[in-house]
């Protein structure tokens, strides 16, 4: 039971200044509440890795917690530019390391499987490969042809949001599973945030849905609405109004500062944040049910 703790305690205990963090989730299940907690605790010099930095890293960078980003697509998904990360990069204030999606994910795959690197077929688009020295070319020892390799990514901490987990951290996700499993297995520590904490029986009733086993998890944090403003399949929709608003807020330093002040420093935790969003927003993000048909695992 010792793993069950508040998100605040988990971030205090497992995220250190200078750490390489991977907050997982490919535009779905993004652990925003954890990002906000990192900002509140004023962590410093973090290296932030994510295929799509998304608003969560824009905010962490805006709050001065990061020294570097590692990414493969730097945009505000579906909206446009990721203004703060972009501006800091353009102004030379933020280090960065850039990949394609597949090479980014291959780095995690290597990290997650204990391999030193992962090979990929060449793409012939060599500009990025020639600028990022982590890309190397080696000979396939069998055919003699060139393959591109990227080194294992081994974050200090992965933060993964899931629909449900038990108190030991056996975690189930449905919907887009992006790179959550890979991020968890690649990392030194795993912080899990969950919409619901369920009994072990619930997990055992549907083992195929468990993508992260409890024994690699360090902290389990019951954090409903953790992913707002992003989506959680079956629980709530993306707050697209906010994604569009952030496009405006992030244009302006004062507006950004005010946002951090009001919505991050100004609240204690996700519960307060969610209440502050108000009933109208809650209603707007509600979704209708669409149940799967149960499967019969059988008794053996």
């Amino acid at each position: 039971m010792a793993k069950l703790m508040t998100l605040s305690k988990a971030i205090r205990e497992f995220v250190n200044d200078g750490d390489l963090i991977y907050a997982a989730g490919f535009t779905h299940l993004i652990p925003f509440a954890a990002g906000h907690e990192i900002i509140r605790q004023q962590k410093r010099d973090l290296i932030l890795a994510r295929a799509t930095p998304d608003l969560i890293y824009d905010q962490i960078v805006a709050a001065g917690c990061a020294r570097k980003v590692i990414f493969s697509y730097m945009g505000n998904p579906g909206v446009g530019s990721l203004r703060i990360v972009r501006k800091e990069i353009e102004n030379g204030k933020l280090e960065w390391e850039e990949y394609s999606h597949f090479s980014m994910i291959s780095r995690l795959q290597a990290g997650a499987t204990g391999l030193p690197f992962m090979p990929m077929n060449p793409t012939a688009a060599k500009d990025l490969e020639s600028l990022n020295s982590e890309y190397r070319m080696v000979k396939d020892p069998y055919s003699g042809k060139d393959v591109v390799v990227v080194p294992a990514l081994k974050p200090d901490v992965a933060i993964v949001h899931v629909q449900r987990a038990d108190a030991e951290g056996n975690a189930q996700i449905w919907g887009i599973i992006g790179e959550q499993k890979e991020a968890a297995f690649a990392s030194g520590h795993v912080i899990l945030t969950a919409e619901e904490i369920v009994e072990e029986d619930v997990i055992r009733s549907d083992p195929n849905r468990t993508i992260i086993p409890g024994f690699i998890v360090d902290a389990v944090c019951h954090t409903p609405y953790c992913a707002h403003p992003s989506y959680t399949q079956g629980y709530y929709d993306r707050d697209n109004v906010f994604y569009l608003e952030w496009d405006q807020i992030s244009k302006d330093e004062m507006a950004t500062k005010n946002y951090l002040e009001e919505w991050i420093y100004g609240v204690n935790d996700r519960i307060e944040y969610w209440e502050k969003l108000g009933v109208e927003t809650h209603k707007r993000l509600q979704i209708k049910k669409r149940m799967s048909i149960p499967v019969d695992y059988g008794c053996y």
């Binding site: 779905h28 579906g78 597949f102 990929m120 012939a124």
Partner: protein, 261 residues
């Protein structure tokens, strides 16, 4: 209706002509925005067996609304399968299970190479920092056919891209062949003026014009000496059915279809 059909906005023209390039049964790597509209349009017209897959790891999606982003749960509800991002790029794309990839970018050059990374000559001090590759580096290399959808503007069509985010025909000739990529590369660039296709040398060449558009317009808006085929075609005018599906079913709020003339 006739009146409506006569006033076709540029994004509609792009979407409809892109949709027509798809074949029934194609497995398509779809992006949000116009490619998503084009695939849904094709599926509702001539290609009911189109299989839409998304880089977030969704196979056989049947989105009931326009996805807000590439990871929208509407792609998952009712889909055939969901897999990890590693799996979608490795098992599906790298393995050769994707027929068509859609691409876009800030710049497309004479040989169909695409830039989605920086504007300027210095990667470390760019004039403009763009989002970067995302999935495009691998899609352009490994999808059997690639289609590019873009407004036809001179700044978007330089002789040579500032940064090669994804490979077209490289420097032309047999360079792509020598690079031993499994995909055939860009097969068509659909613009609001017409359609460009690579010639035997990999050089993008004007092969058709949309109704009312001229070769001069195409040349004026292209950053290299644009070649034109002898028997240049005129694309069929968007049909009422195509426009109706786009305007009424797919994008009634005109999120992606606004703009243009």
């Amino acid at each position: 209706m006739n009146n409506q059909a006569n006033h076709v906005a540029s994004p509609e023209l792009l979407t409809i002509n892109a949709a027509r390039l798809l074949r029934d049964g194609d497995v398509v790597f779809v992006g949000v925005g116009l490619p998503n509209l084009a695939c849904n349009l094709a599926k509702r017209t001539h290609a009911p067996n189109l299989v839409m897959i998304y880089e977030a790891g969704v196979i056989g999606a049947q989105p009931v609304r326009l996805p807000l982003s590439i990871g929208d749960p509407t792609l998952v509800s009712g889909a055939l399968s969901v897999c990890s991002m590693y799996d979608i790029f490795a098992f599906y794309l790298q393995r050769g299970n994707v027929d068509v990839g859609f691409l876009g970018g800030a710049q497309i050059d004479r040989f169909g190479n695409i830039n989605a990374t920086i504007i300027g000559s210095d990667y470390y001090h760019p004039k403009v920092r763009l989002p970067g590759s995302g999935g495009s580096m691998e899609i352009s290399a490994w999808a059997n056919r690639c289609y590019i959808i873009t407004p036809h503007q001179k700044r978007r069509f330089p002789e040579r891209v500032d940064f090669r985010t994804s490979a077209g025909f490289l420097d032309g000739g047999d360079e792509r062949k020598k690079a031993d990529l499994r995909g055939a590369g860009p097969q068509a660039v659909v613009t609001d003026i017409g359609i460009l296709e690579p010639d035997e040398n990999g050089e993008l060449t004007l092969v058709s014009l949309h109704p009312g558009k001229t070769e001069e317009q195409a040349r004026e808006n292209t950053g290299w000496a644009l070649k034109t085929v002898n028997n240049i075609k005129v694309t069929d005018h968007p049909t009422e059915n195509e426009l109706q599906i786009l305007r009424v079913e797919l994008d009634p709020d005109r999120i992606y279809l606004k703009g243009g003339e």
